[in-house]
Symmetry: C2
Subunit: 184 residues, 2 copies
């Protein structure tokens, strides 16, 4: 394999999105995805636990960026600022709006993919709350701020897919809008 080709994992994720967009998620098998990526099914399962996971390949990176941003935020900052930094760090990972639009369409088309997406978002919320507790935030506000960070991330993505621009700006705006909306 030529060195300049992206790794098998990246090619598998791209192949899964291409095939699901072309013919539908239901009509796409792991064997199809592996063939399109030029690898064996066995290689597919070295990278992804099941067919759904090919659409969530970036979620470990999201969690890691979220965690680092919260834990490494200036200790003098209030928890809300650390949570906002976490939401922004996740947003900075997503820059290709066209790719995200295709992916969102595929995920919305299938109940099992939607369930997996909700599970990933819940993991992000749990990770944010754990990172906030590491900074000394009590359990209840840590949980609520973790949920708020994920709410801002998810609603910011919806705005971004509709309007374009920079995702980080949409997520910052959504985070600020939670405070404004809660203020009545």
């Amino acid at each position: 394999m030529a060195r300049w080709l992206p790794g098998a994992r990246g090619r598998l994720a791209a192949a899964a999105l291409e095939l699901a967009t072309e013919r539908g998620y239901d009509q796409t098998t792991v064997a199809d995805i592996a063939a399109r990526a030029g690898v064996t099914e066995r290689t597919y399962y070295r990278h992804f636990a099941d067919k759904r996971e090919a659409f969530f390949g970036g979620s470990d990176t999201l969690i890691e960026q979220l965690r680092q941003a919260i834990v490494q935020a200036d200790a003098a900052l209030p928890p809300v600022a650390a949570a906002a930094a976490g939401a922004r760090a996740m947003a900075a990972q997503l820059t290709d709006v066209e790719h995200s639009r295709l992916r969102a369409r595929v995920v919305a088309s299938d109940d099992a993919l939607r369930e997996r997406e909700l599970l990933k978002l819940a993991s992000l919320s749990t990770a944010a709350a754990a990172a906030l507790r590491e900074r000394g935030t009590a359990a209840l506000p840590a949980g609520l701020l973790g949920d708020a960070a994920v709410s801002a991330f998810a609603r910011g993505i919806e705005q971004w897919l509709e309007e374009g621009g920079e995702l980080t700006a949409h997520v910052d705006a959504a985070f600020a809008a939670i405070g404004a909306a809660l203020g009545g």
Copy 2:
């Protein structure tokens, strides 16, 4: 069947929780649940689409209470107050903490039940946002407040299962705590 017996739906839900608590969710079949409730499997499937649904029998009522509380809140109230009323109306449906503790333990024990729970919570958030939009709230704040109502409901339940008392008080406190935490 004697008139004073609860309906088949309620007995099936109770039987599912009993059996899953006694022997584990994995070791419980729909046939077992139907037998314990004194009905046929066919009757089970008239009430619930699959084995998981027996643990989510109250979710339609939750959605309806949430929707009504938001739509019927005084038109002069700001959206945040309507969202808080929605969270409180859901909380008022749950009064048996021991039952909720058993149920939470079963749901936590199985990935498929956890996924279904997240799907139900996402439906509540979507319903809250739709009800807020009916009142004239714009899409982004409606989505964020819908998420906040569900966050307060879910975190309030966690506190309630730990500490007891009235769920409505825990959910009111959690909703207020979001505003306080967001304020820094």
